[in-house]
Subunit: 215 residues, 4 copies
DNA sequence: CATGAATGAGAATTCATTCAT
DNA sequence: TATGAATGAATTCTCATTCAT
């Protein structure tokens, strides 16, 4: 069970109003989906509650029947996403593959998550830094650290066993790979041409072998 | 002369209040520097005029002696940055190097700009998309297009002359290289260990040759 | 029959919705009891309909099957209380006792009401002034006036017949006695130690003979 | 120096925005005076910020140039009042008078405070209980306890030295005297007829010697 | 009788901006 | 150049109330 999962579970549970949480989960999900799209498109701060409500076809005040606050909407969007992400990552890490294969699996899994939670990923990219400052979003920091450990560890093992180059600054490489993957959420649109697996394959090809033609 | 430069120049000139322009340019620069730091740290929307003023040691209202509006502050920050960026890029492109060398020069130039205008680059990364929606910031879109033309063109020429791999989706490659470089502004801190040139070298090494060990 | 009774009776009767009245009187009473406790504890304005519903174990909307509005709840609570109060007071006044004995009987009766309707009395103390501004609560003002007449009259008769001191400002004395008695509702908790009659006895002792030791 | 003073001083000091506090104290005082009147007349919760602003002849938002929040307005009103109250009480208690004289002095001082801070006293009476629940208003509880200690102690000493009756429940007597005095704030209007000292004299006469005519 | 979902009218608060001094 | 005081529009959130089921 991941840190994100535990923290995320604790966060809503600490609220007084449990009523809100008990409301029909279907409607919640619809509304959260709408909210996520708007947050992703315009940014969390720039998104007004009213805008979300408009998009959902209800009045702004009505959102508060389902959610405590605008904040608790992002909270639920992000923690849901991170929980699923870590389910996938944990499975990959638990499989005990060789470093190179692990890297490939992590990248592929990442693109799958981008495909499934595009909006959430975009929000995470843009907002996690300043949201993490609030105690309520502590799980973002936790997740960040687990994330770094997983990727850095994989790279280190790969350097040790000869899969990856030894002449690179490993933290720089980590950032390079990490950004390379996740920034994709800002332009990725599922369209049939490119399945997440196909994109992952091309990215991996570039990251692993470079874009220069080999002699 | 770049599009950015012209547009940027036109933008303030279209204002009614010439008062603003008459103020001492030194003070302006100081204040813009302060503003850029705060914008970069907290985001444009989340940054209050008062916060900038606090940081500058004056009252919020006093900023309006120097600038028309909060918007005109980002405007000046971004257009100044883009003008310098294009001075560099134009020089590189005008030199007529071979594709691979051009790519290397563009990347190196980019990291230099990140080094010199870290705050502006961070703002550009986070805010350009939604700022570009306003006519005033049309030059952001112009710049974006010139940018894409320069990079995509270089990649295409490189594919044609055998410098770069032919089996990759070229737009994907473009995004890969572009993001790879500019996202660095979100974590880059000038510290002596890594000069922009050194970081550029490592990035290029990864992008061109990949991180996998060659046989 | 008192003014309060008549006004209170007229008030709900003037409503359109007769539905409300048809509900089981037992459930009404339970709910009113719950409402009274919450109003007393947190104040009328600060009490949300939802809070009352929570306490009653139902949803906010469900209260509207039983009552027209939050206002009609306080209305019923206060008018019920005042009707009972005036039943007692009227009996005392009709008995035709001497002034001092009348005063004692009124005080004792008051503490009995506090004992029986603690919540209602507390609400009355805190809210009657501003509720009385609305026409619907005109009976509060009526009751207030009858109240003043009864007490002031008793005091005046007592001054005339030599039961009470002649050197005191009679309105000041009235307020003194009135406040002395009713403010008790703010701290009184029925606990077995102090029966209302016992508290009345001690209060009367203080009011009539003072707290200083007589020579 | 009293508890109220220290707590009150700490409360505003804990704020981030010191700017607010630094604004001209004259305007603050005027606005606080207005606010206190409205709070006293309609209750804290029922008073809208807009109402205060209307009364002050400015717009609601403009109040926030001077104060952080509605809460900080009551805070300042109450703590200012309590500080002055305790200056007076402490002086009385430090004088080391005999119990009866101390009681008289405390009552007189109380009526003087009611005269000077009528609105604040009325607010204190109505709102202190629920405000005290918030940490920010902890000094209300502190003050309450000091208050009880001062009055109960005086009564106890008076019982011991034969000034006061020995057959009364002392806590009941405490509440009786306390409420008797402070409830006066709800009807007291300075009018020339009754100086605070004159009212204190009459109250003391009733409290000490009772309203019944002595034989 | 009760629920679930909404409405709509405020409420407090924030903030870019203005302007007389 | 800067201050102090305000404006006014927008924003998040609250809550009594309604109503179809």
């Amino acid at each position: 069970m991941s840190t994100a999962k535990k923290s995320a579970a604790k966060s809503p549970a600490a609220k007084k109003k449990t009523t809100t949480v008990s409301a029909s989960p279907e409607r919640r999900r619809e509304l959260l989906h709408t909210a996520a799209e708007v947050f992703a498109a315009h940014g969390y701060n720039a998104t007004t509650v009213r805008r979300i409500a408009d998009e959902a076809g209800i009045l702004a005040g009505s959102l508060y029947y389902h959610f405590d606050s605008k904040e608790s909407m992002v909270d639920e969007i992000l923690s849901t996403f991170l929980n699923e992400l870590w389910d996938g990552y944990d499975a990959v890490l638990a499989a005990g593959h060789a470093p190179r294969k692990t890297l490939e699996a992590l990248v592929t899994e990442s693109f799958r998550e981008i495909d499934r939670h595009r909006a959430a990923v975009a929000i995470y990219q843009k907002e996690s830094r300043h949201l993490a400052a609030q105690p309520r979003f502590g799980y973002l920091t936790d997740s960040q650290q687990k994330f770094e450990k997983a990727w850095l560890g994989t790279l280190e093992r790969g350097v040790a066993d000869g899969s990856f180059r030894t002449d690179l600054d490993i933290r720089l490489t980590y950032r390079f790979v990490r950004d390379t993957v996740w920034v994709a959420a800002s332009w990725y649109r599922p369209d049939g041409h490119h399945s997440p697996e196909e994109i992952a394959r091309q990215y991996l090809s570039m990251v692993l072998d470079g874009i220069a033609l080999r002699d």
